[in-house]
């Protein structure tokens, strides 16, 4: 046993000896980083350069100024970053009081930071002065160091210049947003306010028109000028209103199922006068079978009218314009199968199985011209609001830089895209892509069967019609005398009320006017009209309130109520319907529209109506079983 013990002991000793030798070998070969030395009050670590280097690098390379300060606030150590920050050579900084770099007016704050830092931790914003005189905004962090470290305080100096710059930019951005918002609000208000005086002017013009038999040539010429300029003014104001709708995101679509070619032909009709005036040749190519969309007819037509108008305006007289409509697979499909192929090979009824659900069919509408084109500098901004080609002196294209912005917004609202291709002097091409209504896409895809689609485009050349340029004010409307009615006209704009009253009188009606809500109710009770034309924005009681009270009054409730307002939003139509209005006209309404409504009214009020239309209203007139008319909504689309 003793023998075994001795052997174990020897093995143990050998191991210790091996360890000791190994340690010495490691130290000799420089394979260690540090030594631990026992001192009376504990342990001390002596590091070799290899162990210090990573810390040294960290401190020297960091993007903050790092310093240690002695108890009296002089610099015991500082890194290169701090030297750069104050623009002084590193060797001139040791032993210098840190406060020397703090501007005079900030020194008191710094001293108190130092005081707190000595005691534990402190931080705050300050400035340091660069040798070139500039003040650098900084954030200081001070912390007490252990007593045996050779320095009293550690100090971190963070440069806030970049941060301040960002803050400044952000503040600027906020201010710009705010001013943009105000500008948009101003535009909305301005366009609304500008519309108000248009109504009485239009009315007065129509009154003058009634007297045209007695006009001398000068008067006739002057009235013509006023009429044309009024039309122009009204168009501009409508555009302004449209801008404010775009910028405030209040454009609303009234979607329905429709055929693209109907819209295209409608747009062509609208721009035909301009195209003929400039002697352009317009070629329209449509696919042989109908393509269905779920879209807002008026807005889609507006898109095409804007593109065609642009093509006409920016092309020298006698140029060529092409409008092409074709069906295509959307980007979602990567297959070789075109819809035509599907149409040819798929037996009726099995198409659904062959068509992957992800496949999107779309219609591509191209408007191409031989015009001046768009410069490469302008092209990326062509759809921005208020962007337009520079106007040359000899040729005024007019416009406010709104058309294409509107085209893009409206196309996107429809779930489509629009792109522009052009080079200066080489004409332009605009490509509108719109998703085809999926159910309809399949139905018509089956229907096309073996047709070679797109191979036989319908080419339409402009017929030599002499249709007049559509005027915003159709003064030629015959002012035929209708069944004489008692009409109450209420508008706080006295001129509007009076001129409309005069027009109604001139067409054989009996009229009374009022200029606020309460006066309107009094006049209604006193005058017992069969029709009341009410402005909405009335002082005292507003138009909605007046309508509600009239509807609640047993004597007055049969009056036909027509809202006539400048507020053209969807909400207002709904509100006026709920308030009890029968019709809703948007200012400046065409007098002819008002006449049409009056023609459906009998002397006793809400009795005569077209049977085909039904009303959502629950309120029924006591005297009549005939269904109520649905409110007419009119809106001028620029």
């Amino acid at each position: 046993m003793t023998n075994t013990n001795q052997q174990t002991e020897i093995a143990e000793l050998r191991l210790r000896l091996e360890e000791a030798e190994e340690t010495i070998r490691a130290i000799r070969s420089g394979a260690v980083d540090a030594f631990v030395v026992e001192v009376p009050d504990g342990a001390r670590v002596y590091t070799l350069e290899t162990a210090d280097r990573p810390y040294r690098l960290l401190v020297e390379e960091m993007q903050q100024g790092a310093l240690t300060l002695s108890d009296d606030g002089t610099i015991a150590y500082c890194n290169r970053r701090f030297a750069d920050l104050v623009g002084r050579p590193l060797e001139r900084l040791l032993g210098v009081a840190f406060r020397a770099f703090i501007p005079l007016d900030a020194r008191t704050d710094y001293e108190s930071l130092l005081q707190q830092g000595r005691a534990g931790l402190s931080h705050g914003e300050s400035h340091v002065q660069n040798a070139d005189g500039t003040l650098v905004p900084v954030f200081l962090t001070l912390n007490a160091l252990p007593p045996d470290s050779g320095a009293a305080v550690g100090l971190l100096v963070t440069d806030l210049t970049a941060q301040r710059h960002h803050e400044k930019l952000n503040a600027l951005l906020e201010a710009l947003k705010e001013s943009d918002l105000r500008k948009n609000e101003f535009l909305a208000m301005l366009s609304h306010e500008l519309r108000s005086p248009l109504a009485p002017i239009t009315n007065a013009l129509q009154l003058l028109g009634l007297e045209q038999a007695n006009e001398n040539p000068t008067q006739q010429q002057a009235r013509g000028i006023i009429e044309r300029q009024m039309g122009q003014l009204q168009h501009l104001i409508d555009v302004l209103l449209e801008v404010s709708r775009i910028t405030t995101g209040r454009v609303q679509l009234h979607r329905e199922r429709l055929v693209v070619s109907d819209i295209v032909l409608g747009a062509v009709e609208t721009v035909r006068p301009l195209i003929e005036e400039l002697r352009h040749e317009l070629t329209v190519s449509l696919p042989p079978e109908p393509i269905w969309l779920y879209a807002d007819a008026a807005r889609l037509e507006q898109v095409l009218v804007n593109l065609l108008t642009n093509a006409a305006k920016y092309t020298d007289d006698g140029g060529r314009i092409w409008l092409t409509v074709e069906r295509a697979n959307g980007k979602a499909s990567g297959g070789r199968q075109s819809p035509e192929e599907i149409g040819e090979h798929a037996p009726t009824g099995k198409l659904g199985g062959l068509t992957p659900p992800a496949r999107l069919e779309e219609v591509i509408i191209r408007v191409r011209d031989t015009g001046v084109g768009i410069s490469s500098a302008l092209l990326p901004h062509i759809f921005d609001l208020f962007t337009q080609a520079e106007r040359s002196l000899d040729r005024s294209q007019g416009g406010l830089g709104i058309g294409l912005a509107l085209v893009q917004r409206l196309t996107e609202l429809h779930g489509g895209t629009v792109e522009a291709h052009s080079a200066y002097g080489e004409g332009s091409q605009f490509i509108v892509r719109l998703p085809i209504e999926s159910d309809e896409a399949r139905v018509s895809g089956i229907r096309r069967g073996g047709l070679a689609a797109g191979s036989s485009p319908v080419t339409s050349t402009p017929p030599h019609s002499t249709a007049p340029v559509a005027s915003a004010i159709p003064l030629k409307t015959p002012l035929a005398s209708a069944t004489p009615l008692r009409v109450l006209v209420v508008d706080d704009n006295v001129d509007t009320a009076e001129t409309l009253g005069m027009l109604l009188c001139a067409t054989g009606h009996d009229v009374r006017t009022a200029h606020d809500g309460l006066a309107a109710l009094e006049a209604a009770l006193d005058y017992l009209p069969s029709v009341a034309v009410l402005d909405i924005g009335l002082p005292g009681l507003n138009g909605y309130e007046v309508a509600k009270r009239i509807r609640q009054d047993p004597v007055l409730k049969h009056i036909v109520l027509i809202a006539l307002t400048g507020y053209g939003q969807e909400l207002d139509h709904e509100t006026s319907l709920q308030a009890g209005f029968d019709h809703h006209l948007v200012k400046p309404a065409r007098f002819a529209q008002l006449q049409q409504i009056l023609a459906t009214v009998s002397v006793s009020g809400r009795a005569l109506a077209t049977g085909a239309m039904t009303s959502k209203q629950t309120q029924k007139p006591a005297a009549s079983a005939v269904p109520l008319m649905r409110p007419t909504t009119l809106e001028v689309v620029p």
């Binding site: 490691a26 394979a31 980083d33 030594f35 631990v36 670590v45 162990a51 990573p54 810390y55």
Partner: protein
């Protein structure tokens, strides 16, 4: 009895071959912060532990700057040092620990050639 005898023998042989594979390892690596030597040492040891001692080891890394007294208690003279506290016998490996064979040898995970 005979079968019993053979069972005992088998159990003994199993203990001889299996026992190193089931022992629990407690290791401590003493370093000075983030020197290349200490990061290399840690990487080597971690790799060996994960490969050979999975699920039955503890590895602590101790910075002697932060715990100088621990180094004294463990009789560390220079760093990096790897201490194998368990299984016995206690072993210290000093210096270059990036050599995998050297570390395997020190941890008794490979028979001496």
């Amino acid at each position: 009895m005979k079968s019993n005898d053979s069972n005992t023998t088998e159990a003994f042989e199993m203990m001889l071959t299996k026992s190193p594979a089931e022992e629990h390892y407690v290791l401590r690596l003493y370093v000075t912060g983030m020197t290349p030597r200490s990061t290399e040492a840690f990487a080597t040891i971690k790799a060996i532990c994960d490969e050979r001692l999975q699920g039955r080891y503890e590895l602590e890394v101790i910075d002697i700057y932060q715990h100088p007294q621990l180094a004294i208690d463990e009789q560390i003279i220079a760093v990096p040092t790897l201490v194998k506290k368990l299984p016995a016998p206690l072993r210290r490996l000093v210096g270059d620990l990036s050599n995998e064979d050297r570390v395997l040898l020190g941890l008794d995970l490979r028979r001496k050639p």
